[in-house]
Structure formats: structure tokens, C-alpha cells
């Protein structure tokens, strides 16, 4: 990551309309943004939409960034808000099925994005598949906010204090959210693992 001074210079340049500086900022963070979106929504199409929407919002609102928090926190606030909206919409429409019909027959979209590696042992493969389905179902069971806190802590490795800052809440509230998420997963996965 660029040092804070370098990043501040880039941000100021981008605020003045320097396209190259804006691009450099995008490139410093966009892999992580895409990784969060992909992992949360498990769909390349949705991840692509989130990427576009997030950086367009950054572009449109960068002039209002006043260095009150780190750029990382500010950007993640935007990204998490967009992802939360997507997750809430998904909850409302009761989840898209992972298996969709295509001209070539039924296609499991999870297979397209999920685990790599050959399945040398069919029994192990079947068990792994069942486990992944259970985990998917456990994750779907979480509220959008619990899912977000879990994503940021478990997969992105952010500290709860930072997560609280991003989500506009306290470290304690983020901790409670993570606790609830792990309890729900314990209930669903406990007998299977």
C-alpha cells in the first residue's frame, strides 16, 4: 500500500481532476473490493456491478472526502453499503437458485466459482460438496449485517475495531454481530464437521 503521505497526494490530485491519480487509487484497492464482492455475493455478475457502482460513487463523491478517516475506511464504507443493499435485496427475493437453466442444460453456478482441484476421491468429493452446501446455507442464514461483519473479519482479516468504524458502529456491536454469526454457524455446521 502506498504510504499515507503518498496516498494523500494521490487523493488530492484526484480531487483536482487528475485521471491518472484516480486510476492509481482505484488500482491500489480494486482487487480487494472485487474479492469482497465476489465472496459475499458469489456471482461474477454481481461482483462486477458492485465494482462499477463502488468506484463510480467514489469518483462522484471524492471531492467530499475530507480526510476525517482513512481513505481505506471511507472506500470500504461505500463498498459495504452497496454490498449490504445487494444482500438485503437478495433476502427479499429469497435467494436466487444456484442452479440455473442454460441452453446446454442445468448449470450449477457455484461449481463455476467454487473450489478448484481435482476430485481424486469421489466419496471425499461428495462429502466436500455437502459441506460446502451446508456452509452456503449457514451463510445465507445470517442477516446481511452479520454476513458483512463475518466477511470482513474472517475473510478480509480486518480487526473488529476497524469493522465497527467502517460500518458506523462500535467495536462492541461488531463483536456481538460476529458472535451471533459464529453461533448460527455452530448450530448448522456443528453436527457435520
Amino acid at each position: 500500500m502506498a504510504s499515507q503521505a503518498d496516498e494523500a497526494t494521490l487523493i488530492r490530485a484526484a480531487q483536482r481532476g487528475d485521471g491518472e491519480a484516480f486510476e492509481a487509487l482505484v488500482r491500489a484497492y480494486d482487487q480487494n473490493v472485487l474479492r469482497i464482492a465476489m465472496n459475499l455475493l458469489r456471482s461474477p455478475e454481481d461482483a462486477r456491478d458492485i465494482y462499477q457502482e463502488a468506484f463510480l460513487r467514489v469518483y462522484k463523491n471524492l471531492h467530499a472526502f475530507r480526510f476525517d478517516c482513512s481513505f481505506h475506511t471511507w472506500l470500504y464504507r461505500i463498498v459495504t453499503n452497496i454490498c449490504l443493499d445487494h444482500l438485503r435485496k437478495r433476502k427479499v427475493r429469497r435467494e436466487e437458485p444456484t442452479v440455473v437453466e442454460t441452453p446446454d442444460g442445468l448449470l450449477d453456478r457455484m461449481e463455476q466459482v467454487a473450489q478448484t482441484g481435482p476430485a481424486a476421491d469421489p466419496e471425499r468429493h461428495a462429502w466436500n460438496r455437502q459441506l460446502q452446501e451446508r456452509i452456503s446455507s449457514a451463510l445465507e442464514d445470517l442477516s446481511p449485517r452479520e454476513r458483512m461483519v463475518f466477511e470482513l473479519r474472517h475473510y478480509q482479516g480486518l480487526r473488529l475495531r476497524h469493522i465497527g468504524e467502517i460500518l458506523g458502529t462500535s467495536e462492541e456491536a461488531a463483536k456481538n454481530c460476529l458472535f451471533r454469526a459464529t453461533q448460527k454457524m455452530r448450530t448448522i455446521l456443528g453436527e457435520f464437521v
Partner: protein
């Protein structure tokens, strides 16, 4: 600690989100309580199973997203003018005529009548950027302005062209623009078999202040994971880089080759690493090498 307190604290313990005192108390309790040890083992197994559920970004998606974004709004200050030129067709002609009249009026007021004399200032602003160094007023009423000009040039050539490589290496060292350095690394990694290029990739992986550039350099070094010089530098990156994504990529490169000399370094990282995901990666790597997590 009581059993129920321990059970409640285990998830946060696994994320390293409890105080050192609580951590110690949990470990002490679990060591002497079979029921809590069983719960601890189960929670740990769930934790590891969830690690494996992370989806990787499909190859090419990042590039597609970047391309799409740059085609949309990456050119700054385009907004209203772009909208006007594309959508404001009905008003374009009359407004354009008014703008031309206004421009002529103001230009005449500002510049006065045109002169053809030799001292007339002439600046073409295409592809030139300039910095004013000095301003002097002469007795004749002229103003003398000294400026440095930088002219933009375009150079085209293939990657095996020495000049192109030289310019790319130059770009890789350009301190002011990480975007250019990322692009440069992206191209140079295709010819990393050349020693100067590999040296540039190693230098960027170890010292570039921008994580995006370091990640790009690591991509280029993947194919040379067996080279001792590369491994030595990457071991240092793993120990000292402050960005977890860079450390994760470095682990991937280093563990793509079986090398028992890595065990000590990985154990060292495992002890001091506070990022859960990186620790997990290291643990998996050590387990894959049948090595213990600590040095004991």
C-alpha cells in the same frame, strides 16, 4: 474461567480478538477440561472449513472490471460537457452560436487587437506541460517569462525491443505514479527471464511503496519461485511487508516449490503474524510440509 465463559469466548479467541490474559485463561482451561477441549476442537474445525469456502475471483474479471470502468467515467471533468454534447442536441446549435459570440467578445477584451510582431507570445498547449521559472518586466513594457517545457512523445515497439524494455524499466522506477508502475510491471512480467527485468521485479516486490505494484511484481516472479535469489528476497517480503494481501501472495509463490529451508521462516511468521487469514495460510503450508507450527 467457567466452562460457559470459555465456550462463549472461543470464537473470539480463534479470531485473536480477546486480551492476552483471556487467551491464556482459555488455553489453561481447555487443557484441563475435556468438554471444553471437545468444543474448542469443533469450533476450530468449523473455522477451518469456512476458510476453504472462500471464492476466488475468476481469472480476467479484474481486468474486465477495470476496462469497463475506464470506458465509463475515468476521464475526469467530462460530466456536464459530455452530457451536453451527447444529449443536448436540440439546444446545441443556438447555444453554440451564443458561446462563440461570447468567446469572441471576451477574447477581444482580454487580448486586444492581434499583432504580427516578433514578440507576440505563442504557446501551443497540446502535449506540453510547463513550469514557470521566472517573470521579468522589461522597460519596453514586455513581460519576459522563463519556463521549462516537457513535451509528450509516443513510442511504439514490441516487448523484445531494447528501447521499449529500457523505458518500461524506467517507468518501473517512476516514483510519482503508482498507476504507471503497475502497468509497467504488468508488461515486464512477460519477459522476466531477462536479468534486469527480474531485478526490477524483485526490487519492486521488496521496496515499492504501493501494494498494487508489489502484487503485480509478485505475479511476474511466480515462474521463478525456484530461483534462490528470488526466494531469498521473497522470504524477506513475507517477514516484513505490512500488507496482508502481499504476504498471502508471497506465501503462494514460496510454497509453490517444496523447500524445507522455508520451514523456519514460516514458523517465524506464524508466531508473529496477527492476520488470521495469513496465519491460516502459513499453518496450512507448514502442515503440508509436515512441520510443527512452533520452533519449541
Amino acid at each position: 474461567m467457567k466452562c460457559e465463559e470459555v465456550v462463549e469466548a472461543i470464537p473470539l479467541y480463534l479470531y485473536g480478538e480477546v486480551s492476552p490474559a483471556t487467551e491464556e485463561a482459555i488455553e489453561h482451561h481447555v487443557a484441563g477440561c475435556a468438554a471444553c477441549a471437545k468444543e474448542f476442537k469443533l469450533r476450530k474445525a468449523i473455522h477451518s472449513a469456512l476458510d476453504a469456502h472462500e471464492v476466488s475471483v475468476p481469472a480476467g474479471l479484474l481486468q474486465e472490471c477495470r476496462g469497463e470502468l475506464s470506458r465509463r467515467e475515468m476521464t475526469p471533468r467530462r460530466g456536464w460537457l459530455h452530457d451536453f454534447l451527447h444529449d443536448g442536441f436540440n439546444l446545441r446549435i443556438p447555444l453554440g452560436a451564443m458561446a462563440l459570440i461570447a468567446l469572441g467578445y471576451f477574447a477581444a477584451r482580454v487580448t486586444g487587437p492581434a499583432t504580427d510582431g516578433p514578440n507576440q507570445a505563442s504557446l501551443e498547449n497540446a502535449a506540453v506541460s510547463s513550469a514557470i521559472r521566472a517573470i521579468e518586466t522589461e522597460g519596453s513594457g514586455n513581460i519576459r517569462i522563463s519556463l521549462d517545457e516537457i513535451h509528450r512523445r509516443e513510442v511504439t515497439g514490441r516487448l523484445d525491443d531494447g528501447n521499449i524494455q529500457r523505458l518500461l524499466l524506467e517507468a518501473a522506477r517512476q516514483e510519482s505514479n503508482p498507476g504507471v508502475r503497475v502497468e509497467s510491471m504488468g508488461v515486464l512480467k512477460e519477459c522476466a527471464q531477462s536479468s534486469p527485468v527480474r531485478a526490477a521485479l524483485l526490487n519492486a516486490a521488496a521496496h515499492d511503496p504501493d501494494a498494487g505494484v508489489r502484487l503485480k511484481a509478485l505475479e511476474g516472479l511466480k515462474a521463478f519461485a525456484g530461483d534462490p535469489a528470488v526466494r531469498q528476497t521473497l522470504a524477506q517480503v513475507l517477514l516484513h511487508d505490512d500488507n496482508p494481501h502481499v504476504r498471502i501472495e508471497t506465501i503462494d509463490v514460496l510454497t509453490s516449490q517444496r523447500d524445507d529451508a522455508m520451514v523456519g521462516i514460516l514458523q517465524d511468521v506464524f508466531q508473529k503474524e496477527d492476520n488470521h487469514y495469513v496465519r491460516n495460510k502459513v499453518r496450512n503450508a507448514l502442515e503440508g510440509m509436515h512441520a510443527t507450527l512452533g520452533t519449541f
